[in-house]
């Protein structure tokens, strides 16, 4: 048993029948969290994902801010989802204040978003998850045996960063994209650079997906769950929308997310939780592929059909593969978007058409559905609610951890190896704990 | 002095000739302003008489904003041996050439600044005449007509350009142009009239009524004047005035080491006397802790000190500080303060 560095959840360890598995820090996830699993004899008595990270109360602080201020504050909720928060925030503001989104802006935001998906997915799949499955403590120690994969994966990640830097101004927390448009659009040289690099990386992305597709996926935790993601118009596969679609077929308009996804607070975590129809659900890349994967075309479509199987709806480990396939999609999509942008003239910032209103911005962050819900009065925020994907996922994650812990324990696994497996599950959700602590609901009196 | 004639229709060919001698740098649009940029394409190459000033002055070609001045490892220091390309600075006006004359004097007196000299040796200066806007006042600083400092100078005499050749390097360029038929050694008979008109036009184009008369002594007399404190209170310490001033020369160096290697470089970058640390020494002793002190230093340098050392003020009347300072502290407002003091 690993000793807790600092006592949290003080309890009586006198009863030697109690076996506690603690993962004190969830290594290799952004932010600060831990897992506690307790057995009384062979009976599982407790599963907690603790969020040690303190509450930042971003939504309470949002009150009184303008649209542009929100666009710059909310990305600070989570660095790795910075562009998702940016886009969600922009969408919420633009809907609330009725700001137009001309084509050039639309495609630019789209491309910027792909940058983040590439960056985040490649970081998660290759730097965080792959070492798990291949048995390395970190990606750098993989260099000796898998130098090519590591270098190329880093290149892929760098490419995602470069896109964000070009469109948003910085790798992390850029200020170039705001409600109304972009301070500056990329130059043609920059666009060509992006296109070329996407074409260069295509081959590796496909090959890497095969590596991930070839990994053996453990089955000690399988159980059906519900998946939710943005519903996209027509046959597009895209990372935002104005409706949420669930794997049970239900579709709800964005404004009604609150009525359908009940939030609650649990004492062991500053992250609030949400349930769909009283049950935990998942909003990962796997959710997207399960719900709207059929819309994928090209190589990504081909790979989706190649690897999809019935275990995808009950085993969260497939999220890694889903992310790989989405990376192929992004890399394929970029040249297409660049072509579109190359022909377009730069345009002015769009102005708000009104000063008050409510707007819900739904986007798909790399790790799932992200909701920004703003109400404005006199151009200032009066009400703000943000729900992050990790927050949606926490209950489902707790559920799977419970199943796995029980099964592994029943199989007589050692505590250490149980702990490692549980960490792996947590990581497969690609959780961003820091962003999960910000789901806060401010109710205006 | 050798002069030739040039007609505007040959502009594109002129670019061809110039680019055989090196990179051509000329003002290009940047937002609502201009900036010296490398010209890759003759379409972007135009005579910019109406462009009075670029955001950053010519000094950026001689001592870039930030560059490694030394490289080192734990055993040795040396100059980086990078190849410095020949640059042709096209479209520089009289004030800019005067500023470079001042920099030349400054960087080679007492001690030769190698970083400057290296780049200066590789710079070809092609001046173009200009029309003053409301902020220009080079007539007041006697920098509206230059006698030296250019390799070639184009003066717009309306129907054609009169081209003054200042150096043997300039002559090389002109000769190549002559071979291509774009310069004409036969000067039309009306040239003297036309030139006189040009000087008149130039003189009359100034409308900035800034008054620098006696500012050296006034600076001395205003050493303890109250207005410095007032200016210090509103100065933002942003340092923009020193960045845009073509004769500001201060710099700082900082050492950077390479990760996981034994090597590093000493980076030289533009510093500003308006920044708090400018005169800070060890033990937190600051010789100019107050902003007013630092502002006074700046204006001492522009209006007084340089005259003492080199006989001319170091302000060349380009008007950059006038258009740049967000709170309107500039040569003009300071000159006015100096005068008010006298009126008292």
């Amino acid at each position: 048993m690993v000793e807790a560095k600092f006592p949290n959840n003080i309890r009586n360890y006198g009863d030697c029948k109690v076996k506690t598995i603690k993962v004190n820090h969830l290594a290799r996830v952004e932010g600060d969290g831990g897992i506690t699993v307790e057995f009384d004899g062979n009976e599982l008595t407790k599963v907690n994902i603790d969020i040690f990270e303190g509450p930042r109360l971003i939504e309470a602080l949002a009150i009184g801010k303008t649209a542009h201020e929100m666009n710059s504050i909310t990305p600070r909720i989570c660095a790795i989802c910075t562009v998702s928060h940016k886009n969600a925030s922009i969408r919420a503001c633009e809907r609330a204040l009725s700001i137009e989104e001309p084509e050039k802006t639309y495609y630019s935001r789209n491309l910027m978003h792909l940058g983040e998906i590439i960056e985040s997915h490649s970081l998660h799949v290759f730097a965080l998850a792959l070492p798990d499955f291949l048995g390395y403590p970190n990606v750098i120690e993989m260099v000796d045996k898998h130098k090519d994969v590591v270098i190329q994966a880093l290149n892929l990640k760098k490419f995602g960063n470069r896109i964000m830097q070009i469109f948003n101004g910085k790798f992390i927390h850029g200020e170039n994209a705001v409600a109304g448009g972009f301070g500056k659009f990329p130059s043609n040289e920059e666009l060509h650079e992006i296109k070329e690099e996407a074409e260069n990386l295509f081959e590796f992305t496909v090959a890497a997906t095969d590596i991930v597709g070839g990994l053996e996926i453990p089955d000690y935790l399988e159980k059906e769950t519900v998946f939710g993601c943005c519903n996209t118009a027509d046959n597009q596969y895209i990372f935002w929308g104005d409706e949420i679609i669930f794997s049970d077929g239900t579709i709800i308009p964005s404004e009604e997310y609150k009525e359908n996804l009940i939030e609650r607070v649990v004492p062991h975590s500053y992250a609030k939780r949400s349930l769909y129809k009283g049950k935990p659900f998942s909003v990962t890349a796997l959710a997207r592929l399960n719900n709207i994967g059929e819309k994928l075309t090209g190589k990504a479509g081909e790979y989706f059909r190649k690897y999809k199987n019935e275990r995808w709806t009950k085993n969260p480990f497939y999220n890694n593969l889903a992310q790989s396939i989405e990376t192929i999609y992004c890399i394929e999509k970029i040249p297409e978007l660049v072509e579109k942008l190359l022909g377009m003239e730069d345009i002015e910032m769009q102005k708000p058409q009104r000063t008050e209103g409510r707007g819900v911005g739904l986007v798909e962050a790399p790790r799932g559905l992200l909701v920004h819900d703003y109400t404005f009065k006199d151009e200032k925020i009066t009400d703000c609610n943000i729900i992050t994907p990790t927050a949606y996922n926490l209950d489902d994650l707790e559920k799977y951890i419970g199943i796995a812990a029980k099964n592994l324990n029943d199989n007589g696994e050692e505590t250490d190896s149980i702990r490692f497996e549980l960490e792996k599950i947590a990581r497969s959700y690609d959780p961003c704990i820091s962003c999960a602590t910000h789901l806060v609901n401010v109710i205006k009196k | 002095m050798r002069v030739v004639k040039f007609e505007k229709k040959n502009t594109e060919k002129l670019f061809d000739v110039l680019s055989r001698f090196g990179e051509v740098w000329s003002p290009m649009e940047k937002g609502e302003s201009y900036s010296y940029q490398k010209i890759e394409d003759s379409n972007n190459f135009i005579f910019h008489e109406e462009v009075t000033r670029t955001i950053l002055p010519e000094k950026k070609l001689l001592l870039p904003q930030k560059f490694p001045t030394l490289k080192f490892n734990s055993k040795k220091y040396e100059k980086p041996n990078e190849e410095i390309p020949t640059k042709i600075l096209f479209g520089i006006h009289n004030c800019g050439i005067s500023a470079l004359n001042i920099l030349d004097e400054f960087y080679t007196t007492d001690f030769v600044d190698a970083d400057y000299q290296q780049r200066r040796n590789k710079l070809i200066i092609v001046g173009v005449s200009c029309i003053a806007d409301e902020h220009c006042f080079c007539d007041k600083t006697n920098t509206n007509i230059v006698e030296k400092g250019y390799d070639i100078f184009f003066a717009d005499l309306c129907n054609y350009y009169l081209v003054w050749i200042g150096t043997s390097k300039g002559d090389d360029i002109i000769r190549m142009g002559e071979d291509m038929g774009i310069f004409d050694a036969n000067i039309p008979g009306d040239v003297t009239n036309k030139y006189a008109e040009y000087r008149k036009r130039n003189r009359e184009s100034y409308c900035n009524d800034i008054d620098l008369e006696g500012s050296t002594d006034l600076m001395e007399l205003s050493h303890d004047a109250e207005f410095w404190q007032e200016l210090g209170d509103i100065c933002l310490s942003c340092g923009q005035c020193t960045m845009v001033c073509p004769t500001c020369t201060c710099y700082n160096v900082i050492d950077e080491i390479d990760l996981n290697k034994d090597t590093g470089q000493r980076i030289r970058y533009w510093d500003s006397c308006l920044f708090k640390d400018f005169s800070l020494t060890a033990g937190d002793h600051n010789f100019r802790a107050a902003r007013s002190e630092r502002l006074k230093l700046w204006y001492t340098h522009k209006l007084k000190a340089f005259i003492g050392k080199f006989g001319a003020p170091s302000c060349v009347g380009c008007g950059r500080c006038i258009v740049t300072c967000p709170v309107d502290i500039n040569i003009k407002t300071v000159a006015e303060k100096l005068k008010k003091k006298r009126a008292l």
Binding site: G54, L57, I58, V440 | K30, Q65, I257, D258
Partner: protein
């Protein structure tokens, strides 16, 4: 045992962007792992050695629970040089934008109701220098690649980092941008610690101040100027506060009561 300097990278409340900024140095990552013996880096490794003594501890994030406070004391004890890594650790960043207004409890209850938390009592986010001695800072939200790597390299070589102590305007002008203040746009450049290379202004968007306040900031002069340009005082001060963290509310309490 190698005689490489040991490094620990710790995270508290924040967006985890400073650690990510480090992971974003794709080209130097392998060199970094070679140059230093990295003992703790939760965002990148699973074999972390929590108890290890380290030569350099980079601490990211602000402190806002009891548990974090204890952990920070612990890190201080085990680290020779403790570095505030990024804006949150240095002065609190966005979560400290209302620092010291006395309404934190109210905000907390509004958000969480009356739930008793078992994961450490929370309080208003504070920069780490409120609790422990800080030897150096790496500024930025999130830190700029070059500045950060230069600083870390210096630390690994046994030097404290040195920066150009100038506002954002320096780099803004070095990149030859037109000044936004002159166009009547509220830009926080003159008040903000430089080092970011002024990416925002180079993209025509004003500086929002995410590097924190520079010592020499002349707030009242900028307020006067902006009021002249038609801004309302409360809008100006709100902007100052967003990234001003603890520093602004402490230094300028008088100003904010306006």
């Amino acid at each position: 045992m190698s005689n490489k300097p040991t490094l620990g990278i710790f995270g508290f409340t924040g967006c985890a962007g400073c650690q990510l900024a480090l992971l974003n140095c794709e080209d130097q990552l392998i060199d970094l792992f070679e140059a230093a013996d990295i003992k703790v880096f939760y965002e990148a490794m699973s074999n972390n050695d929590d108890g290890a003594e380290v030569d350099i501890a980079l601490v990211e994030g602000s402190i806002n629970t009891d548990k974090q406070k204890e952990e920070l004391f612990h890190i201080r004890k085990k680290a020779k040089t403790l570095v505030a890594f990024g804006s949150c650790a240095s002065y609190g960043c966005v979560q400290a934008m209302a620092y010291g207004d006395g309404k934190w409890e109210e905000r907390f209850r509004k958000v969480y109701g009356d739930v008793e938390f078992a994961v450490g009592k929370a309080f208003e986010a504070q920069p780490i220098h409120k609790f422990v001695k800080v030897d150096a800072t790496i500024p930025g939200c999130s830190p700029a690649t070059h500045q950060m790597l230069t600083a870390i390299t210096k630390l690994l070589n046994g030097n404290l980092p040195v920066y150009t102590n100038a506002p954002v305007c320096l780099e803004c002008k070095l990149h030859e941008n037109e000044c936004l203040l002159n166009k009547g746009i509220l830009c926080l450049g003159p008040l903000t610690q430089g080092g970011c290379t002024a990416p925002c202004i180079s993209h025509n968007t004003p500086c929002v101040g995410c590097w924190g306040i520079i010592e020499e900031a002349n707030h009242s002069a900028e307020i006067e100027l902006l009021i002249e340009n038609g801004y309302k005082i409360e809008d100006i001060i709100r902007k100052f506060r967003i990234f001003g963290g603890s520093k602004i509310s402490e230094q300028y309490t008088k100003l904010w009561r306006l």
